[in-house]
Amino acid sequence: MDETQSPHSEPERELSSSWAAAFQAAFPHTIAVMTGYLFMGMAFGILLQSQGYSQWWALFMSVVIYAGAMQFVAVDVLTSPFAPFSAFILTLMVNARHVFYGFSLLDIFKGFGRLKGYLIFGLTDETFSLICSVPPPPAIPRDRFYLALTILDHIYWISGCTLGAFLGSRLSFNTRGIDFVMTALFVAILVEQWRQKRNRPPALAGLAATGLCLFLFGPENFILPAMALVVLLLILGRSFMEGRFLER
């Protein structure tokens, strides 16, 4: 140990090097998310500005909302009559799956102190998947590693959205139909989930229940009954699922 150093510089160096190390370790795992978020963020930005909202709105929304599917739905909401209560309920329903991300992470986030708030705020589908699948490197504090993942993903998203809105008005090609990117994402995710047999009955229940409710209640009113029916079907099917597919 170098005895000429003051007692303060060692912990400070460890502090900053542990943050730098956390980001260095986290970055390679986020490359796939980076390409995805840049692309989807740009699609959102293009769509948003086509409805008359500038890149500053894209920046604002991607910073405070930070949710892919919901931001696309939000474009729809922003071009409809002002209805904040119904917007809030719609948000709870579209983002309901995030409730269950929290349940899955209760143990992983235990004891994480002040950083926990931002980690919770940043629980997107992709960040959640990373946290569940990437083991933190042994030398790096777990909470900082997860925070680095979350911050990086958020930066990619903000960049994509803002850039898309900025470029959108300057693009010359017709962007009609670009909102399909969200449908495509969910279909691709479902294909991946379908590979595991235990996900198939719930997926089928989801499709059937939602399709039925769409038919019965129409596009404006079907989400709430659909979610209720889905939960009901899943609970009714619990002994079947636990008997055949799941560990208790």
């Binding site: 209760l106 009609r176 495509a184 994402l185 294909v191």
Partner: protein
């Protein structure tokens, strides 16, 4: 919608998003046991929810009116096939979206 109404709408949506992400941590602070039913739903809801969201995305489609949702159907099949065989998310998404936009703008005008 006015400027301040739009701001309020965005903030309401942001609050709703944060609420769904925080709910589990608010209901079950350190130590409180998670009921087995909740834990079961945590395993089965993700797939069901993705399926629900797919139907939500195509809710505007009218299968009995021209163009009968054919653009959506074709593009969804393309995404599913590409993802099944190549397992490259970005490829499936980009190709499917491009196909949908082409169909929408040139074929099913």
């Amino acid at each position: 919608m006015s400027f301040s109404q739009a701001i309020i709408t965005v903030l309401v949506i942001a609050a709703g998003t944060l609420a769904t992400r925080a709910l589990a941590f608010l209901l079950f602070p350190a130590g409180r046991a998670v009921p087995s039913c909740i834990s079961y739903l945590g395993k089965v809801l993700p797939s069901a929810t993705i399926a629900l969201l797919i139907v939500y995305c195509v809710k505007h489609v009218e299968p009995l009116e021209p163009p009968y949702g054919l653009a959506e159907l074709a593009a969804i099949i393309l995404v599913a096939v590409l993802q099944h065989f190549f397992k490259i998310m970005l490829l499936s998404i980009i190709a499917g979206t491009a196909a949908y936009m082409l169909l929408l703008q040139w074929v099913f005008v």
